[in-house]
């Protein structure tokens, strides 16, 4: 068979992906749904961005005049430079500590059965299921009682309350997927438990830790209730600042100012996330990174 005819026929024929796409109306339905979702999303984001740059925007498609003054005034009024620094610092600290404390615990839950394991698991589930308001105020009192009120330390500590269980719950299935005989192999090579952890498990868990870390990061940056109760000037995170701006003075700040702060919040979050996503694939955020790990 001559090459030319082969090439010709190859064109005429359908390739794997195409056929299924063309054939199924349901697929188009899904694509349409996604398009609507994305339009909504884009609309929301663009609207806020436009609003934050609008001097005044009462009616019409776009603001009558443009300005960046909302950003500068928000930045100065709320000392956002410092606030963003605190936010990033707190988020990183929470991620690091919750990983350090949570991963060993999830290792144990993944690998061992021991008396009371069910109870311990349930205990770790509760802080995620319970609304923070049920324990937030007494928790804040504890913080103040230890003289930690309004310190960055307190903000980190209260954020650890839901974060550690979160790390434990997301990491447990992850560790379960790692072949235990790899650990056995390390021990047969003479590695102590600590060495098994640092030399073998830790590198293997990196994708999972990153995934859990990112989710914790997102949750911490977005956590309002608990942070608010113990933070103060110098330890406010970005959400708390925005909240204070929205609710202060009875009526709250101008809409555009809030928009500007919301945009800065999102940009901060995006920057953090983009940096983190350089290391993980978004669809692998939750679990099962097995195939990636094996090669």
């Amino acid at each position: 068979m001559a090459t030319t005819t082969v090439a010709g026929r190859r064109k005429a024929q359908t390739l794997p992906g195409e056929r299924s796409l063309v054939a199924s109306p349901s697929t188009w339905f899904v694509w349409a749904g996604m398009a609507v979702f994305l339009v909504f999303l884009a609309g929301i984001i663009v609207a806020v961005v436009v609003d934050s740059f609008g001097k005044q925007w009462f009616e019409g498609w776009l603001p009558a005049a443009w300005s960046t003054s909302w950003y500068s005034s928000a930045w100065e009024r709320f000392e956002l430079g410092e606030v963003i620094g605190v936010t990033v610092g707190v988020a990183l600290a929470v991620v690091v500590i919750s990983v350090l404390v949570g991963v060993p615990a999830s290792y144990l839950l993944a690998r061992r059965s021991f008396p009371g394991k069910k109870a311990v698991t349930a205990l770790f589930l509760l802080p995620i299921l319970m609304p923070p308001i049920t324990y937030g105020i007494p928790l804040a009192t504890v913080m103040y009682a230890f003289g930690l009120g309004r310190t960055v330390v307190a903000v980190i500590l209260v954020n650890l309350v839901p974060s550690i269980p979160f790390v434990i719950l997301t990491m447990t299935p992850f560790i379960e997927q790692i072949n235990p005989s790899i650990e056995s192999a390390a021990r047969m090579c003479g590695a102590s438990i600590r060495q098994v952890f640092t030399r073998v498990l830790a590198p293997l868990l990196v994708p999972g830790i990153l995934a859990a870390g990112i989710l914790v990061l997102v949750r911490t940056v977005g956590m309002f209730e608990l942070t608010f109760l113990v933070s103060g000037p110098g330890s406010d995170t970005l959400v708390v600042s925005i909240y204070r701006a929205m609710t202060s003075a009875g009526g709250g700040e101008a809409r555009q100012l809030i928009s500007a702060m919301a945009v800065m919040y999102t940009v901060t979050m995006l920057v953090i996330l983009v940096v983190a996503l350089r290391f993980v694939n978004p669809t692998q955020l939750v679990a099962r990174v097995k195939d990636a790990r094996e090669d």
Binding site: G17, T27, F29, W31, G33, M34, F37, G43, I44, I45, A47, V48, E59, W61, V101, A105, L108, S113, F114, P115, K117, V120, L123, F124, L126, I128, L129, I133, T134, Y135, I137, P138, L139, V142, L160, V161, I164, P165, I168, V218, V221, G222, F224, V239, I242, M246, R255, S259, V263, Y265, T266, M269, L273, N281, P282, L285, V286, A287, R288, D291
Partner: protein
């Protein structure tokens, strides 16, 4: 060392070995930091919060009676408060369901290989960066009476009156979907990736069309994962607070439990009552979670033949 354990086959192993066999060994120390932390910073305050619910204010006691249980009597006796359970459920259950149901086909489509897949999935998970404030703000501006959506539809003559998309039930629903969908999508995608694609191939060679493959193979295998996803998105939706307040109708359709708790806490300064509402919130959540888990336990669960 030879020891005898009562009623069991004689074991010549050392005590250390036998304890280790039951899972008690020094490795248990690994769970200790997390456990201590949770006990100190969660259990203690949580117990305190529960204790608070049994210390009703004098006013509550006078009005509702019931002694130490006055808060609960008040909660369930006052339709204004009690109804918020229903109002919250009416929001959270459909929102969680919608998120789960919508993410299944999307995850299915995005499971295929095609160009731009990664971009697409990144776009879909983007909203987790937005935060509730920006979402609420955006919805108000974009979908409000004067927003671009209404303006567009009015301009092309599709409608005469602006649609009411925010400051009501719908607005909160939008916000819950925008913030909840990415989570549901992420979870469902990962569960889906655990289903061995060769099962679908097998079904194809047995003559099953796409719907039959989905209905008979994928769905039953995905169901336990969907239950977990439902629970997680439900928990997120159930404690909805800022969006109920900002884009909802907080006096009416979206007077959710979190708002009621906040009202007691911040406006009426009745902490015991606020704790009670929050605790009932947690209990209602646990009930729903228990129901879903009970249903889940009826399903097939086990290996889905996949990589996981």
């Amino acid at each position: 060392m030879t020891t005898t354990t009562a009623g069991r086959a004689r074991s010549t192993a050392s005590l250390r070995h036998r304890l280790a066999e039951r899972g008690i060994d020094p490795l248990l120390l690994l769970v200790l930091p997390a456990l201590l932390f949770t006990l100190a910073l969660f259990v203690y305050p949580f117990a305190y919060g529960i204790g608070l619910t049994f210390q009703p204010t004098a006013a509550t006691q006078a009005q509702w009676g019931g002694g130490v249980l006055a808060n609960y009597v008040a909660f369930f006796g006052d339709p204004f408060v009690r109804d918020s359970i229903w109002i919250t459920m009416r929001l959270a259950v459909p929102a969680a369901l919608l998120n789960v149901v919508l993410s299944v086909p999307v995850a299915m489509v995005l499971r295929r290989k095609f160009r731009g897949k990664r971009l697409m999935s990144s776009l879909l998970v983007l909203p987790i960066t937005l935060g509730t404030v920006l979402t609420a703000q955006g919805l108000l501006i974009f979908a409000g009476r004067q927003g671009w959506i209404n303006r567009f539809f009015l301009t092309i003559g599709l409608i005469d009156e602006p649609l009411k998309l925010v400051n009501n039930y719908l607005g909160v629903m939008f916000s819950l979907i925008i913030t909840g969908f990415p989570f549901a999508f992420l979870l469902v995608s990962s569960y889906l990736s655990g289903i061995d694609p060769s099962l679908e191939s097998a079904a194809r060679t047995l003559g099953a069309g796409w719907w039959q493959r989905f209905r008979k193979i994928v769905l039953p295998l995905l169901a336990p994962g969907l239950a977990t996803t439902f629970i997680l998105t439900f928990v997120l939706a159930f404690s909805v607070f800022p969006s109920a307040r900002l884009v909802g109708d907080p006096g009416g359709e979206t007077r959710v439990m979190a708002l009621m708790a906040y009202r007691s806490f911040g406006e009426q300064l009745d902490y015991p009552m606020a704790s009670t509402i929050a605790l009932v919130m947690g209990l209602v959540e646990l009930v729903v979670v228990a129901i879903v888990f009970a249903w889940r336990s009826l399903l097939y669960k086990g290996s889905t033949g996949g990589k996981g």
